[in-house]
């Protein structure tokens, strides 16, 4: 199965190999695909052939300079819509204005700080996505929803590099729990667990929309909480009155070794470091789909290979016949996650559920438990 790759591609143009290398390292660490060109003519050829999402262009180059390159890019229909940010060692007004007049969207003064470059690149990619491709994305939406319906829930075999395991049990076909795993770029993955406020056919239909929304709003340019924010904005418009969902979204970058968890009124995720003891990641956060102005808790953790995370729905800790209350159930779950360390991640969720529920106890709610290994 082909995995949809949402990597955004950036073309860097600079005659200085050191600048190229520095930008390349910085941008690829953040999940972008990077193309490099050492001069104007090569850059223009690459821009036509590869249609990058953004171009970082040095002004001062021998031969064809940056101004000439932008002029050519803007003349060519194939490249005219690509946003160009220019890099300049000169901060005089004439240079800046000339760049803007030729159609550049922004400039960065050298010597630049890589974090400034990242911030500006993100900003302009977002603007570009919002403006230039609005129509295309709307047209794609229907197609994506149809595609999503054929494969509602992903399996670990579909995304081996995502390194997850899942236990999923729905009371009826139209379950109110939902999980999703997305490959955002080579090293960045998104993991999502949600619980709707009711179980019926409509709910199941809504999960299809959520899947499409995740696909549209999880590109590398978006921070995890921004993705949730945008999904909330749409849900407020489309959810029937009284319907809402709680969710937890985790975005793992295996390159920078950082995991960001965003919580929208959902039970707290559990962090099981390979060395050390398991803890709950307690956070406040509003539910999704009711309020326009919302706050979502967001927490970033430095992680190491072997560390694990668990996201789950409240059915896991509230629904046994023993009428366990939330806090006691939660402590039991933390202990069970800790105990499952010796099981491979694909099997750990099943093992944890087996530990929490005696086999003869019937389950009164949907359950999803998603385990992730860094």
């Amino acid at each position: 199965m082909k995995i949809a790759d949402q990597s955004l591609q950036i073309l860097i143009v600079d005659d200085n190999p050191l600048n190229l290398k520095l930008l390349e390292t910085t941008l690829s660490k953040d999940g972008y695909k990077v193309l490099s060109a050492g001069n104007g003519p090569v850059a223009r050829e690459m821009a036509v052939a590869e249609k990058p999402d953004l171009i970082l262009l040095d002004i001062k180059m021998p031969g064809e300079d940056g101004f000439q390159v932008i002029r050519q890019l803007k003349k060519n229909l194939a490249t005219t819509a690509i946003p160009v940010i220019f890099l300049t060692g000169v901060s005089d007004m004439d240079t800046k204005l000339q760049g803007f007049e030729l159609g550049a969207v922004d400039y960065i003064i050298k010597p630049f700080h890589p974090r400034e470059v990242l911030a500006r690149v993100r900003l302009h990619l977002k603007l570009s996505i919002a403006t230039n491709s609005l129509i295309a994305s709307q047209a794609n939406k229907l197609k994506q929803i149809t595609e999503a319906q054929t494969s509602m829930l992903v399996t670990p075999e579909m995304y081996p590099r995502a390194q997850f395991g899942v236990y999923y049990s729905a009371l009826n076909e139209a379950g109110g729990d939902f999980y999703e795993v997305r490959q955002i770029s080579d090293d960045i993955f998104g993991y999502f667990v949600a619980d709707f406020s009711g179980h019926d056919i409509k709910t199941s239909f809504l999960t299809v929309s959520i899947k499409a929304l995740l696909q549209q709003n999880s590109a590398p340019v978006y921070q995890a909480h921004e993705s949730m924010q945008m999904i909330n904005d749409v849900l407020v418009e489309i959810l029937p009155e009284g319907k809402y969902l709680t969710a937890c979204y985790a975005r793992l970058n295996r390159k920078t070794k950082q995991m960001t968890i965003v919580n929208a009124g959902h039970p707290p995720g559990i962090f099981v470091p390979s060395e050390g003891s398991a803890t709950r990641i307690d956070m406040k956060g509003d539910i999704l789909g009711i309020f326009k102005e919302v706050y979502f808790g967001s927490h970033t953790i430095d992680v190491n290979p072997g560390d694990r995370f668990y996201l789950y729905s409240d059915g896991l800790i509230e629904s046994s016949e023993e009428k366990i209350v939330w806090s006691a159930g939660s402590n039991k779950l933390v202990a069970a996650c800790e105990d499952a360390k010796s099981f491979p991640i694909q099997e750990a969720p099943k093992e944890i559920v087996r530990k929490l529920f005696n086999e003869n106890v019937s389950i009164h709610d949907d359950i999803v438990l998603l385990g992730i290994e860094v």
Binding site: N16, L18, N19, K21, L22, T26, G89, P111, R115
Partner: protein
């Protein structure tokens, strides 16, 4: 000169930063060679240009002393004044040497 700290300032791992410094040392030597030649032939424009390139690349990596010296050289080239220029080139060469030394210890 702590490569770990300089790298962290740029959001890079030490190993990634060392790779950049390797590239930097080789291009800086070329730039300094160009600068020296330009100075000897009193080509002011070429002086300013090669000094400008060194200023940017050294500044980006956080080698501020070398960047400041390069700026001084660039400014002198722009106003066609090459007095005391041999000393500046000398100091620049020493700075590049220091960076190279530090690099060899880090590998």
């Amino acid at each position: 000169m702590d490569f770990k700290v300089l790298g962290a300032n740029l959001g890079l791992e030490e190993s990634e930063f060392i790779e950049l410094v390797e590239l930097f040392v080789s291009t800086a030597k070329q730039d300094l060679q160009k600068l020296t030649t330009a100075y000897q032939s009193r080509d002011f424009e070429a002086v300013a240009e090669s000094a400008h390139s060194l200023k940017g690349s050294s500044g980006n990596l956080g080698f501020m002393e070398l960047s400041a010296l390069s700026k001084k050289a660039e400014d002198k080239g722009k106003v066609n004044d090459l007095s005391g220029f041999a000393e500046i080139i000398d100091s620049m060469s020493q700075q590049i040497g220091k960076i190279k030394e530090c690099l060899e210890q880090s590998i």
